[in-house]
């Protein structure tokens, strides 16, 4: 814990690396378990951060996942360098997906990732610059 009582941890995510894919989210999950966060919150954080992590793995070149915890909330911010999202409202709709047949064979492409992030977080904001990258910021109340 830092002086201002905020715990900060950062992870890097590599595009198209399916062996490590999901590791960052699992580590965050373990940290939350260790500090005694309630099971419901842990599960929601894990699902939302995993979806965002997998989107970086699938669509972007690389990214970072930053986890900030203070006494009132958990903030997870995932920022990537990648193609970006042209129409965010469309991307947020259940079922919308540009996943390739190859990705679908691996179990992705339901178009439920961003909706799952929205449903499980207490607040989320997606911003993107086409050709540069995407940022997903979500928060969870403790």
């Amino acid at each position: 814990m830092a002086a201002d009582n905020t715990f900060i941890q950062e992870y890097s995510i590599k595009g198209w690396d399916f062996t490590r894919a999901g590791e960052a989210s699992c580590e965050i999950k373990n940290i939350l378990k260790q500090i005694g966060v309630s099971q419901d919150v842990i599960r929601r954080v894990a699902i939302a951060s995993y979806e965002a992590e997998m989107n970086v793995v699938m669509y972007a070149r690389q990214g970072t996942m930053r986890c900030e915890i203070d006494t009132t909330k958990i903030k997870i911010t995932i920022e990537d360098e990648g193609p970006g999202i042209a129409d965010i409202d469309q991307a947020m709709q259940e079922g919308f997906s540009t996943a390739t047949p190859e990705m679908r064979e691996m179990g992705f492409g339901a178009g439920m990732g961003l909706p799952n992030i929205k449903r499980n977080s207490d607040g989320c904001e997606v911003t993107s610059v086409v050709g540069k990258g995407t940022k997903v910021a979500m928060s969870f109340n403790l």
């Binding site: 999950k29 099971q39 599960r43 699902i47 691996m106 439920m112």
Partner: protein, 127 residues
């Protein structure tokens, strides 16, 4: 429903070692799409899927699921079984197709996560 009952109902094979088949699943979710599973599961559920890769195991960890049942003869490779052993995730495999596997389990009272189904079937239909 215990994992032993799931195994017996579907003439399934246990792929992992030293798995505790007396563990109970309280609901199930069937899909080949992992985000679908993440959207529609409760903790301690059984994931029924034809998707046999590492992402299936990640989904178990992330969603606090209890076990995985592979359908229509899909079998994970040895690497994946080793990871499941290390993470203590029981893996079962049946030759039934997904629909039939779900039907047989449903018939024995293992329901999904739709609230209404519990209302429609009552306590006797959904254990």
């Amino acid at each position: 429903m215990t994992l032993a009952e799931v195994k017996e109902t579907l003439q399934a094979e246990l792929l992992t070692q030293d798995s505790d088949l007396s563990l109970e699943v309280h609901s199930a979710c069937a899909s080949d799409m992992m985000s679908d599973v993440l959207a529609f599961t409760r903790p301690e559920c059984l994931i029924i899927t034809g998707l046999a890769n590492q992402q299936t195991l990640r989904t178990v960890e992330i969603a606090d699921a209890l076990a995985v049942l592979f359908v229509r003869g899909k079998r994970p490779d040895q690497d994946m079984i080793a990871v499941a052993n290390a993470k203590k995730i029981p893996l079962l495999a049946t030759n039934f197709c997904m629909y039939d596997a779900c039907g047989l389990l449903f018939n024995k009272g293992l329901c999904g996560v739709t609230e209404q189904v519990r209302k429609i079937l009552g306590k006797d239909g959904c254990r």
